[in-house]
Symmetry: C2
Subunit: 296 residues, 2 copies
Amino acid sequence: MPIIESIPNVSEGRRPEVIAKLIAAIRDTPGVRLLDHSSDASHNRSVFTLVGDAPALKAATLALFEAALADIDLRSHAGEHPRLGAVDVVPFVPIEGATMEDCVSLAREVAASVAERFGLPVYLYEEASTDPARRNLEDIRRGEFEGLATKMSSAEWTPDFGPAIPHRSGGASIIGARMPLIAYNINLNSDRLDVAKKIAAAIRHSSGGLRFVKAMGVMLEDRKLVQVSTNLTNYQKTPIFRVFDLVKREAARYGVSVLESEIVGLVPSAALMSAAEYYLQIDRFSNDQVLENRLR
Amino acid sequence: MPIIESIPNVSEGRRPEVIAKLIAAIRDTPGVRLLDHSSDASHNRSVFTLVGDAPALKAATLALFEAALADIDLRSHAGEHPRLGAVDVVPFVPIEGATMEDCVSLAREVAASVAERFGLPVYLYEEASTDPARRNLEDIRRGEFEGLATKMSSAEWTPDFGPAIPHRSGGASIIGARMPLIAYNINLNSDRLDVAKKIAAAIRHSSGGLRFVKAMGVMLEDRKLVQVSTNLTNYQKTPIFRVFDLVKREAARYGVSVLESEIVGLVPSAALMSAAEYYLQIDRFSNDQVLENRLR
């Protein structure tokens, strides 16, 4: 069975009874597994991690929209995190036996159903985007719910599906497909924050570094050492090992060494397997050679 | 469900109708999956790879013994491969959710049942062994079926289970528990066989190298380059990356570099994950962080 992951972000992080209804909407959908969920009161936002095949995820997402739109009103919503709608963002991520194309198709299908069933405008983003200028999540969300009516009055911001005006209480939603994100940090044997910041600037895409790397230099106060904190947005095209080796080399430039690295949260097996293949110079390796893969 | 692997070696590699009965005995056992099987006529031997939980593997092994003892007579058996019995060797290997202790228990339980049901002497080997002098497969098998009656007349070779005389047609069996074997080869950018042989001698246990490495230097005639061919008998205690790095360093001593490495056949996921953790210096990594593991 192909496995796709979805990580819906919903604009509700304070009312436990509403959050419980959102969880129930996902859990009650057959064929879907809720792997994780977290709610943040200051952000006033909840993030859910669910997996399943395309039809099951479509059903779960529609159920989630129904529950969210019934109880969340953006006109009286406040929180630190920027948001455009009640169900703010829904990415679909290929995990196993599913391609990016499968996730793009699923995103479009869900977007069309959401628009039709709830009369809600939907923008497609990242890999599902139909317009390079609307690929980036932050660009679509800029102006937030409060600026949405004005933004949508411009032809440039006609939604991909649904009406060209905001949903009264639900705003608009951003649905798309992307690769798994890997949160990857590299700790340096140093307390020099300037060095961590220079390395971060050297490796990240925005300032001339690797294409699928976001990075910043931070101080770990309790350990008195600095960290290059990264997000890897496409581990197939910019693999972990290349980021690690580049940080190591840049650090050496300042006479600093790498103490350790850490993966925060979940990582696809293939992202680590590729590091083993790279460093061991393994030739002609197939995933079928992994014993556990043969058992499934 | 805990998963254990078993790789029974049976002394029949020539008669297709007998081999078919052996395969059927395994396949007809509920809860067992036959992942692979191969038969060699010159060795006159077949090797099966099956997985399941302990009760299923016990049932499959007993069914295999029954089929093998019905059709194989060691008194008229000839082949290049050394053998002591009709079902010559049965190792149990921990794969997932099962410990070495589980496999040792299973080996003893199967050995006791085989001895009781078929009146066959059984020796325990490797991790299931009861005597350091009888740990090694080659030591137990030395003298083969033809020398078995004499060997067993010595108190030193009283079997762990069953009668102290050979089964008339089936000889004796060797049942035990061990870690998965990894067949791992490292190709050098060189045609100097003496260098490959020196490196093999440096890294293998028998001549002073790493504890769980068997190695030899061989010439790949078609590619005009040499290979250090290894078997890693405990990847947890002597990990792949340590073997690779040591070969690289020894090769540099002769001005030779490593071209590539290859894994032949199956490898447990953890053996490659540990290489990724090592080279990326990943701190505090848990198998629960691998997305695929969370799905199961």
